[in-house]
Point group: C2
Chain length 345, copies 2
């Protein structure tokens, strides 16, 4: 299984798999300063809500290493400055601020102003986030795999796999767990325009594990469902509001509408770190809009008339009433989400 990131203990740097180069090249980039992490998240070398949360945590560790401060207050000021920079890289996934807040809380709670000790505590917390993400994904897989029947065909969107997390994956973790439970599972991967994470990453992950995968363009999903080829849909999430509305990769909402029209169950798999109880509904989730060239260009080639106007939201919001259940690392949450989500946080 490809790893999205690995900590190099001797160098105290994080190696990130450069996902923009997949599947053509498997290249790791070494990040030794927090601004390397800022830039890697911005340019999508690392992507996926849990993965950018974990990478940002390591980024804050790197920022801490370089702080020279006369007091804990001054240390805190500098640390929070770096945290704000890391948090500002991408607006939609809440895991980013969740991970950074965990480290800041650890820092605030620490009964020391020794730089070495503080650094050690922060590094240990980043490692904990990393480890818990993988173990959480395995539990999620275990909770969710029961929804996949023997011989089942799963449609998924974007990449919510090992590459989107510290390891194992959320939506693809559920598929992996079904396979480990001895089921034959096959996968339809929506290519996921504009950046083709389904084609480049999900197809790659499934092929590497010999899980049968068929690639489709995003606009084929409806016809595929109409032909009875999809038993269930499983996707990941970037942020879940208190009422169970889910922000996820653009196109998720359309799949949910079509799944409903075909009576196909639609599951979201995400760790509880993706749940943002501060937001009442999905209307409040900030949706990142990205550069027009993602749509108009591929590999430097222009695909459309020069100067065409483009709308390029990176995410959309799926309302809770279209979601059959939310599979988390703390168990499966059923509607009504407004009541049941807060029980597991």
């Amino acid at each position: 299984m490809l790893e999205a990131m690995r900590w190099l203990p001797n160098e105290e740097c994080l190696e990130l798999l450069d996902q923009t180069r997949l599947p053509a090249e498997i290249t790791y980039v070494k990040c030794c300063e927090y601004r390397d992490i800022v830039s890697a998240i911005k340019r999508l070398a690392v992507r996926g809500a849990p993965a950018i949360g974990t990478a940002a945590a390591y980024g804050l560790v790197m920022a801490a290493r370089n702080i020279s401060a006369k007091s804990k207050k001054e240390y805190s000021y500098q640390l929070r400055g770096a945290a704000r920079e890391l948090a500002a890289t991408r607006p939609t996934a809440v895991n980013l601020s969740w991970a950074l807040d965990r480290l800041l809380q650890k820092f605030d709670d620490a009964d020391t102003d020794n730089h070495g000790e503080l650094y050690g505590l922060l590094l240990e917390e980043a490692h904990a986030i990393y480890r818990e993400d993988i173990s959480g994904n395995r539990r999620m897989g275990n909770y969710g795999q029961g929804f996949i029947p023997q011989g089942g065909s799963v449609l998924t969107h974007c990449n919510a796999g090992a590459l989107a997390t510290a390891g194992y994956g959320t939506a693809l973790g559920v598929i992996r767990a079904a396979r480990e439970a001895g089921k034959n599972v096959s996968v339809y991967a929506c290519e996921t325009r504009p950046l083709l994470q389904g084609a480049r990453l999900t197809a790659l992950e499934m092929m590497q594990e010999n899980i049968p995968v068929t690639l489709i363009t995003d606009n084929m999903a409806g016809f595929l469902m109409a032909k009875g080829k999809v038993d269930l849909v499983i996707v990941g999430a970037d942020r879940i509001s208190a009422n169970g509305d889910v922000a996820n990769k653009i196109g998720t909402y359309g799949l949910a509408v079509m799944a409903k029209a075909h009576n196909i169950p639609f599951y979201v798999a995400a760790p509880v770190s993706t749940v943002d109880l501060k937001l009442a509904s999905g209307d409040e989730i900030p949706i990142e809009e990205r550069d027009h060239t993602e749509v108009t260009h591929h590999g430097g080639r222009l695909l459309a008339p020069a100067g065409v106007n483009v709308w390029n939201p990176a995410f959309d919001v799926t309302p809770h009433n279209l979601i059959t259940a939310i599979i988390t690392d703390k168990g499966v949450v059923w509607p009504p989400y407004k009541e049941n989500l807060k029980k597991i946080i």
Copy 2:
């Protein structure tokens, strides 16, 4: 307005705009033998149901020119051989066989076996198809433009414009007619993977006429509708069965499902030559599946892992119950289509 094709009377050849090179290059290819037309249709230099019907008619004219036969029976045998080859280029659009059948009928009805006269009759029939397509599209535009409100925002898919027809367009013809009627209209163009006819052709046609157009990836349509940005959807058609089911570019069905979920009217604009009363329902429409490399490659670059399995249907079928009305060159057809379609044929 770019022309998909033009007949060169002195050379007796058809010039086709090579649509595979748009928008980067405006290149016309000269077809002087019917097999040039066969190859141009197969490689999508000319595409769009009415346009391939018209081009095939001219192709049959070229085949007739080269026939040397001792009897009308032998002429007919050779002509029908060429017609079968032209008809076999693409399976879904019925306009292809409709246009060829019109020429064969003209041939059968002709009370002559003089080669020059037969050739002249066939050429005149091809010209008639060409002229009627343009005038039919203008009537269709006139019938349909009333559905577009002042300041309306229209979502369309693929390219059902001047480039998909002899001229003016079907779905885009309705938009042009609304504009000519003095309305401000804006267009959202789904890029239409895998071959990007929306990005390459529809965006180009609209920009050339200063009709405001915004390009989106196919998977953004649902979110766009949820945000209230779409007043109506208009698409073309490749074949309409007797009950009003519509085969059109892959992705049309998903748009229709989503339009229904958002209470957005969904119109199909197509000439009556697209209606195939011989087929009871859309289940009987043959759906072309195209090469996997259309999905896995762009401009020779591999977008997905080598060897990935792909499903690549070029069309899907939208059931009649999702279609608000069918705008034809003989008037607007309302449900129940099974009764009302046959009234206008």
